[in-house]
């Protein structure tokens, strides 16, 4: 049993704007009987203002597919085409309160049908079936999902796992053969999002650093890698001086009076600084 919001149930039980506009200015379709859900959206557009004056839908699908279509019609009615094009699947899901993860693809279907309907209007009104751009790389052949669609879903919804991608796009949900490729796309997109600037910068060797750079580099390792571990034992460390390769620190708290202070200093603090910055570093106690 799905945990549907009251809003989903309301739009499922009392769907708004059901049907087909006879002399529609735009008709968009997405999905098929094979996929298990499909949506046909017809729109009436004011040619001068480009405002969507009327919209109707027909949906074959589960409760969340019907509810997503229904609320979409409410969202686009009265909007201009450019405003309507800004609606994402996330907006549809949010308008419904929420959708179960496994049902997010229903909201994606709404967004795709709307895009197709607007495209249809712009092309003179002949029905447009939402499909991947010609020449795009189809990743999931069971559900006909392109790499572009997967990348867009990852960006729009901040997806992190292959399972997420399946929930939002259906890709990988049938035979599962494309899961590996989805994983590759995912890691490609995610690695691009991580700020890459610091990585790209070549690290300056320790010996060529100015004294300020040396202090910064040592402080960074102390703060990120050394202090958190010493804190676990109730201790800490403080930088007191840097002279060439010699880094002088003061062990604080529990570490200060600890019998293992020398071992901590050489075995942990010095080793970590050597691993992270330069093998020439020597640590002394203040």
């Amino acid at each position: 049993m799905w945990d549907y919001t009251d809003k989903v149930m309301d739009h499922f039980k009392n769907p708004r704007n059901v049907g087909e506009i006879k002399d529609a200015d735009g008709t968009g379709q997405v999905g098929s009987l094979i996929c298990g859900d499909a949506l046909k959206l017809t729109i009436k557009v004011n040619k001068e203002t480009e405002v969507i004056e009327d919209v109707k839908f027909q949906t074959f699908g589960c409760a969340s597919a019907i509810a997503s279509s229904s609320i979409l019609t409410e969202m686009v009615k009265g909007k201009t085409l450019s405003e309507a094009l800004k609606i994402t699947n996330r907006d549809i899901a949010e308008a419904l309160g929420s959708l179960p993860e496994e049902k997010m693809h229903c909201s994606v279907m709404g967004m795709e049908a709307l895009d197709a309907a607007i495209k249809s209007y712009k092309q003179g009104g002949a029905p447009v079936i939402f499909e991947q751009e010609p020449g795009t790389n189809i990743v999931c052949h069971c559900f006909n999902v392109s790499e572009q669609a997967i990348i867009q879903a990852i960006h729009n919804n901040n997806l992190k796992t292959v399972e997420d991608v399946t929930h939002f796009t259906k890709a990988g949900g049938a035979c599962g053969k494309c899961k590996e490729e989805i994983g590759r796309i995912l890691s490609k997109v995610l690695s691009c999002e991580v700020p890459s600037a610091p990585k790209a910068e070549e690290k300056k060797p320790y010996s060529e650093m100015t004294i300020v750079e040396k202090i910064k580099a040592v402080e960074e390792v102390l703060n990120n890698d050394i202090k958190p571990k010493l804190n676990l034992d109730g201790g800490s460390v403080e930088l007191t001086d840097i002279n060439g390769n010699i880094v002088t620190v003061k062990l604080l708290g529990m570490c200060g009076g600890c019998m293992n202070a020398a071992a901590t200093l050489k075995g942990f603090v010095e080793k970590t600084l050597r691993d992270k910055i330069s093998k020439d570093i020597e640590v002394k106690q203040a």
């Binding site: 499922f12 094979i34 074959f60």
Partner: protein, 393 residues
């Protein structure tokens, strides 16, 4: 609005008399059946009485039954024991429409190096005997084929399938979870080496099942540990559940005639009523050879989850083979194996009746379902297209 429960293949409620029989074993008679004192050891008698009752239901002798945690454990135990029985044989056979408790084990074994054949079915869900005969050979260690299908109710010719397996020198196991208690299951007549059954499908408690192991067949236990169940299934006996299963089995045998005399009539009335009222639907399964309680109907051009949610508004419980209901994205593997077209597979509903359903409940479903289908078809884009096609012709 009272509950109309037409989902008895999923699970059933515990009968009051079963519950009463179980109750003392939770609070008063909580002793360990393996204990030497009569307070615990006395429970052994209750277990053995239950074993006789379950054995009677399938015409086995009590010594041939091992209690398990349910149908799934019974299936896994049977399969892995058969593989150890024939360590040098590397071929196993099952059907494409098994319950996941068998199907997934076979898929896993396939990945682990076994040669696996999944025997297909025809459009009515009937077992493909020719394909089966063609793949059986002396390297086949095990054939595991279900007695009756959970989704369509189709009954397989277990006796014939078993005889062929034995001819080829293979062991034969059957998952009879859906058949036991609904039709006459005679394990001796069938000739099976092993058979799985489950308590919660026959108005007993959940979490208990049994594996029949033919007398004389060497068995390799799945669960290892204590000496319970004559060293065939370790673990402290779940006495209340075993007692409940026994009582449920006893009542199931006494009331088995109700499935033919009452449930079959209700099911047929429901089916005929719906077919008469609703255009574009079809029955999935072998109408000549089906469990008397199961009806799997596809309503074309609408989606199963939507139908179930609408039925739920009337407090009517059924289930669906549509993709959306399972959270997976493909419709039921059983309907796909039968080659049911997608426009029907997504709109399939399984009604599984029980001994306690009434004619009034059937009438209520026949009354409320047609408008639901009509409404959903009005929303569906495909049905409109179909009407347009019909009008042009």
């Amino acid at each position: 609005m009272s509950l109309i429960y037409f989902d008895n293949n999923a699970t059933t409620g515990v009968l009051p008399e079963v519950f009463e029989a179980m109750a003392p074993y939770f609070t008063d008679k909580y002793g360990n059946a393996s204990s030497m004192h009569h307070f615990g050891g006395g429970n052994k008698k209750a277990i053995e009485l239950a074993r006789v009752n379950v054995a009677d239901l399938i015409n086995a002798s009590a010594a041939e039954l091992v209690f398990t945690s349910g149908g799934t454990e019974a299936d896994s135990s049977a399969i892995y024991s058969a593989l150890r029985f024939y360590p040098n044989k590397k071929h196993i056979i099952t059907s494409a429409v098994e319950h996941p408790a068998v199907l997934e084990v076979f898929k896993k074994l396939g990945k682990e190096g076994y040669k696996v054949d999944f025997i297909g079915v025809d459009g009515d869900g009937r077992f493909n005997m020719e394909q089966y005969k063609a793949v059986l050979d002396k390297d086949t260690a095990l054939v595991s084929v279900m007695w009756a299908n959970s989704e369509t109710g189709t009954i397989f010719p277990i006796k014939d399938i078993c005889a062929l397996a034995h001819e080829a020198g293979a062991l034969f196991h059957t998952d009879a979870v859906q058949a036991v208690g609904k039709i006459d299951v005679d394990v001796k007549l069938a000739g099976a080496d092993m058979l799985s059954c489950s308590s919660h499908k026959i108005n007993g408690p959940k979490g208990i099942g049994a594996l029949y192991i033919r007398q004389g067949l060497r068995f390799f236990p799945f669960m290892v540990g204590g000496h319970q169940e004559r060293l065939r299934r370790a673990g402290t006996e779940n006495v209340p559940a075993i007692v409940g299963f026994g009582e449920a089995a006893r009542i199931a045998k006494e009331t088995l005639f109700l499935y033919e005399d009452k449930v079959r009539v209700l099911r047929d009335n429901l089916e005929n009523g719906l077919l008469k009222e609703i255009p574009d639907c079809r029955i999935n399964g072998d109408r000549e050879n089906r469990l008397p309680n199961t009806s799997n109907i596809s309503f074309g051009y609408v989606e199963g989850e939507s139908i179930l949610m609408m039925l739920d508004e009337y407090n009517i419980c059924a289930s669906s083979g549509s993709a959306c209901t399972s959270g997976s994205l493909e419709p039921s593997h059983v309907l796909m194996a039968m080659g049911v077209p997608f426009q029907f597979a997504h709109g399939s509903i399984r009604f599984s009746l029980g001994k306690f359903n009434t004619e009034a409940e059937v009438e209520q479903v026949i009354k409320v379902l047609p408008p639901i289908i009509k409404r959903l078809r009005e929303i569906s884009p495909f049905h409109g297209e179909k009407r347009a096609c019909a009008a042009r012709q």
